[in-house]
């Protein structure tokens, strides 16, 4: 890992990420999208984020990829509080406290 490599990665990621964020906002703008496309897009958040975290929760690097009951339970608490209270911050505090206390006790 040289300095140059790191800078190349930062530049490529910065540009690539910006372009992914700009893609539809910039190019489609105020043109109408068909109803079926809009119907799919309504599920963007729930389609992406659960899949992003699932491997991190089930096979965490920190345990060498071993399933960890505390992490699974903390994830369940975070989700449940979030769905029940409809509030991200309460969810993160509940899940964080549950994990922190569990981690300290175990």
């Amino acid at each position: 890992m040289t300095d140059t490599t790191v800078w190349i990665v930062i530049a490529a990621l910065g540009i690539g990420t910006y372009l992914s964020r700009f893609a539809f906002l910039g190019l489609i703008g105020d043109r109408e999208m068909p109803a079926w496309v809009l119907r799919h897009l309504r599920y963007t958040g729930v389609a992406v984020l659960p899949g992003l975290v699932a491997p991190l929760v089930v096979w965490p690097d920190a345990t060498g990829g071993e399933v960890d009951p505390l992490r699974l339970a903390s994830a369940a608490v975070t989700l449940a509080v979030g769905a029940w209270r409809r509030d991200t911050i309460q969810a993160v505090i509940a899940g964080g406290l549950f994990f922190g206390i569990g981690n300290w006790l175990l």
Partner: protein, 227 residues
């Protein structure tokens, strides 16, 4: 002030400091420990502004993976941003180009999640109101992310491994998902997303996540259509 869409955005974004700070500190510490210079760590957080992909990139760089693969893998994690961009286009598409250019820069997961739920709840907002709200959300969220990265990099406090700070990353995203589970269609999409991502985790460059996300969107849309 509190009544304007911009003020609402600031107020709704403010509590997210609780999430952005540990997340940013963690990145600052890990990236510095991996051998990145302060300038590089800060460039990551202020140019890429996508925590999950930054962790992926630093991890792969440390593993000595070829540069092109590092870039492709991390970009695949960020392809979800294109989906966010598409999802917000019906709301923000008519905004002036310069606003859309700025919005694209700050469209991180937390900003997307807040904006989407606010737009769903307030259908009477104009395009200008919606853009103002999104800008308001970014006011606390973005500096918290960059500032926390700096703190993590400078203090470089060796965080004891027993604290298991790595859990901050999944926690930050899980907390966004709960409030999104509004209907049977949303829950179905989430289940397909989890199953797909786990089953397809063998795919190279994190492409399994993208395939899982597309399947999950189709599943959600189908449940909605049949309802």
């Amino acid at each position: 002030m509190a009544k304007s869409p911009f003020g609402k955005g600031v107020a709704h974004g403010l509590p997210f400091i609780v999430i952005m700070v540990p997340f940013g500190v963690l990145f600052g510490v890990l990236a510095t420990e991996a051998g990145l210079s302060l300038a590089q760590v800060m460039a990551f957080s202020s140019l890429v502004i996508a925590g999950a992909s930054q962790f992926t990139a630093v991890q792969l760089l440390t593993d000595g993976v070829p540069t092109a693969i590092v870039i492709l893998s991390a970009l695949a994690v960020n392809l979800r941003m294109a989906m966010y961009s598409a999802a917000l286009t019906p709301h923000l598409g008519p905004a002036p180009l310069w606003q859309r250019c700025l919005i694209a820069y700050i469209l991180v997961d937390q900003v997307y999640a807040l904006a989407q739920s606010a737009y769903d709840e307030r259908p009477t907002w104009t395009v200008a109101d919606k853009a103002a709200y999104l800008g308001g959300v970014a006011v606390p969220v973005f500096p918290a992310w960059v500032g926390a990265t700096l703190a993590g990099a400078v203090l470089g406090a060796r965080i004891p491994e027993s604290w298991s700070l790595d859990f901050v990353l999944p926690l930050a995203f899980l907390a966004l998902v709960g409030p999104m589970l509004k209907s049977r269609a949303h829950v179905t999409a989430a289940l397909v997303s989890v199953t797909g991502a786990l089953v397809l985790s063998w795919m190279p460059w994190n492409l399994g996540l993208i395939v899982a996300a597309i399947l999950a969107m189709a599943a959600g849309a189908e449940v909605e259509r049949r309802a």
